[in-house]
């Protein structure tokens, strides 16, 4: 029996996933969370075999929750989901320790396979994302400036690019404003950006956020 925790801020998505997962006799959803913070709490309490987690959530977000869970339990098996299926998001999620990545586009069909694969301790990428990653590597964009950001910096970068303020990001990620400021400084250095709109521009160019 694979014990699963679902993390998504959309209750109806969780319901859909739960019913889908429970259609398999060998899978059971033992917990749900609607934020990164709750996911971490839930993980600590119920120790699920697999965490299925949306990256885009209000508050600390999926990437940060992933990091905390992995910091607490390096063996944690996390399958990440995102409506943003660009290469950078995928790479950063995998680098942060996610075992798998699904786009929400293909999640319903591939979820069962993905959960089973991840539960077995193997990596899983859905076909479209695998292709995208392979192609981006082939095109030589594997080492874009965005990929040189640390995971934490990437997270701050995505939020900045979406227009969030430093204070807001500090609050969401539970960091001090000066730490976020330091990240911001490093991000700008690495990306050669001057203003926040430069960051947005770079994010759109690399498909990190939707145009």
């Amino acid at each position: 029996m694979i014990r699963i925790m679902l993390v998504d801020d959309h209750a109806v998505v969780r319901t859909g996933f739960r019913l889908l997962l429970q259609s398999r006799a060998d899978m059971s959803v033992i917990g749900e969370a609607e934020s990164g913070e709750a996911a971490y709490q839930g993980y600590v309490e119920s120790k699920p075999d697999v965490v299925v987690m949306d990256l885009a959530m209000p508050g600390m977000g999926g990437l940060e929750a992933l990091r905390r869970i992995r910091a607490r339990d390096p063996q944690a098996k996390v399958l990440t989901l995102s409506a943003h299926d660009d290469a950078a998001h995928v790479r950063h999620a995998l680098r942060e320790g996610a075992l798998g990545f699904l786009s929400k586009r293909s999640a319903p069909e591939t979820l069962l396979d993905a959960v089973a694969t991840v539960a077995a301790g193997r990596r899983y990428l859905d076909a479209a994302i695998a292709q995208k990653l392979a192609l981006s590597a082939f095109d030589g964009v594997a080492t874009t400036p965005v990929d040189r950001l640390s995971e934490r910096e990437f997270e701050v970068f995505v939020r900045l690019a979406r227009g969030a303020t430093v204070q807001r990001i500090a609050q969401d990620l539970n960091l001090s404003a000066s730490t976020v400021g330091t990240h911001l400084y490093n991000i700008k250095q690495k990306l050669g950006a001057v203003t926040q709109s430069d960051l947005t521009l770079i994010a759109i160019r690399h498909g990190v956020i939707e145009a």
Partner: protein, 451 residues
């Protein structure tokens, strides 16, 4: 100096000069006649008296001469003296009784009177008879004539000038009215018209003035109407532009909703459908198929929605700019329609401003999507070119051409495009590419002149 004063002075001066000349001529004539008369009277009296005195002297001696002279009395125009040989005055003729005690002023006498000729006869016994011309009566007559003439002339002068002044005043009366009218016009009272003015010229000026005022008023009215229309148009454009901004904001919100909320719901629906397919399909094949159909349909819905997002909110216009966004548009649609040759040719200034950038993008986007959806083309060419004055967008396909009902309001979103372009003062045309078919969509938007 006022015209009236000047004209009055001219009339007065001329008439006065005329009178002066007249009187001068009269004086001159009088002088000649006085001289003539004096000389003639002196001659006649002297020769007549001389002869008589000689006769009386020869017959009766000095006494008889004296008696004769005393009886004779005054002879007009002459003074008669009888002098003794000693030089003593024996007799002097009396003064004239005609206009006695009156005489012309000395200056006049001096002006008119000739040098009084004097004729002397020697009589028997050494007596001398002197007949001297005395013109004072003639001069006085002339003086009286001239005085009378002057009085008449003065009266005439006064009457004539009075009449002249009065008629001048009458003739010149319209001028201040005209001046006041011009002032009114100048102060902007364009509705002002001159009243009917007396006199041919004044009436002509009045009519010309009123025609001019009417023309000015008409022109100003036409200009005001044009200006009002311009202002209204501008207002409408601003409203349209404001509405466009609101629409764009709304589109962004909708895009956001689609991505974040609707997309999630579709994912949920698909998950649920697949859950039914997986569980129910085991028991009921038909139910499993239906659930799978729901899932497939929801997947298409998901794709359609994500296809809508960039159409709804080309956010990258703000950040990537028009060129990159157009390229990405063409690339996206090329990926979806690999069999159709899409081309993009662009050469335009980067700094178009948000409204024009968006309008250009929308024209290219709608043109491309319409062509792909409705025209069944083998190729679609997009061209975006600008110069200093305008930017031109063309979308040309080689498809089946325009359907008959394309111009129906709201059809194909073309009307919205036309309004968007018109709001920017541009031209929007849709027509056939050529006889063989195809559609050519053309939009031209003027660029604001940079100062």
């Amino acid at each position: 100096m006022r015209l009236r004063t000047r004209l009055n002075l001219v009339v007065a001066g001329l008439s006065a000069a005329f009178v002066i000349v007249l009187i001068a001529a009269e004086i001159n004539g009088s002088r000649d006649s006085v001289r003539e008369e004096t000389a003639a009277a002196n001659q006649v009296a002297a020769s007549f008296l001389g002869r008589l005195a000689e006769i009386y002297s020869a017959v009766g001696g000095p006494n008889m001469v004296l008696q004769f002279l005393q009886r004779l009395g005054h002879v007009r125009g002459n003074d008669i003296y009888l002098m003794a040989p000693s030089g003593a005055m024996v007799y002097k003729s009396p003064a004239a009784t005609y206009k006695a005690d009156r005489s012309a002023p000395a200056w006049f006498t001096h002006l008119l009177a000739p040098e009084a000729p004097k004729i002397t006869y020697g009589l028997r016994g050494g007596l001398l008879l002197v007949v001297q011309a005395e013109p004072s009566r003639s001069v006085l007559d002339a003086w009286d004539n001239i005085t009378k003439l002057s009085a008449i002339a003065a009266a005439m002068l006064i009457i004539v000038n009075g009449l002249a002044f009065w008629s001048l005043a009458r003739m010149l009366k319209p001028f201040p009215v005209i001046t006041a009218g011009l002032d009114r016009i100048q102060q902007g009272d364009l509705g002002f018209r001159l009243p009917r003015l007396a006199g041919y010229e004044a009436h002509a000026i009045e009519e010309a003035f009123n025609r001019m005022a009417q023309a000015v008023e008409d022109k100003v009215r036409v200009e005001r109407i044009a200006r009002d229309a311009e202002a209204r148009l501008e207002e409408r454009r601003e409203m349209a532009s404001l509405a466009d901004q609101r629409v764009e904001e709304e589109r962004r919100l909708i895009a956001h909703e689609l991505h974040d909320e609707f997309g999630q719901s579709v994912t949920a629906i698909r998950s649920l459908a697949l859950a039914i397919a997986t569980q129910g399909g085991v028991r009921d094949q038909a139910m499993g198929d239906i659930a799978r159909m729901i899932s497939d349909e929801a997947a298409r819905l998901y794709d359609a929605m994500h296809g809508l997002i960039p159409r709804l909110a080309p956010l990258s216009l703000d950040t990537l700019g028009l060129s990159a966004t157009l390229e990405s548009l063409v690339r996206d649609w090329q990926r979806r329609h690999p069999a159709i040759a899409l081309s993009l040719r662009q050469s335009h200034t980067a700094d178009l401003g948000p409204s024009i950038t968006l309008a250009v993008y929308r024209v290219a986007q709608e043109g491309l999507i319409n062509a792909l959806r409705h025209a069944n083309p083998s190729r679609v060419d997009i061209e975006v070119m600008s110069d200093d004055k305008r930017i031109v967008v063309q979308v040309i396909d080689d498809g089946i051409g325009l359907p008959a009902e394309w111009a129906r309001p709201g059809h194909f979103g073309l009307r919205g495009l036309a309004e968007r372009v018109a709001a920017l003062g541009g031209v929007f045309q849709v027509g056939s590419r050529d006889q063989k078919g195809g559609v050519r969509l053309y939009a031209e938007i003027p660029l604001a002149v940079r100062t």
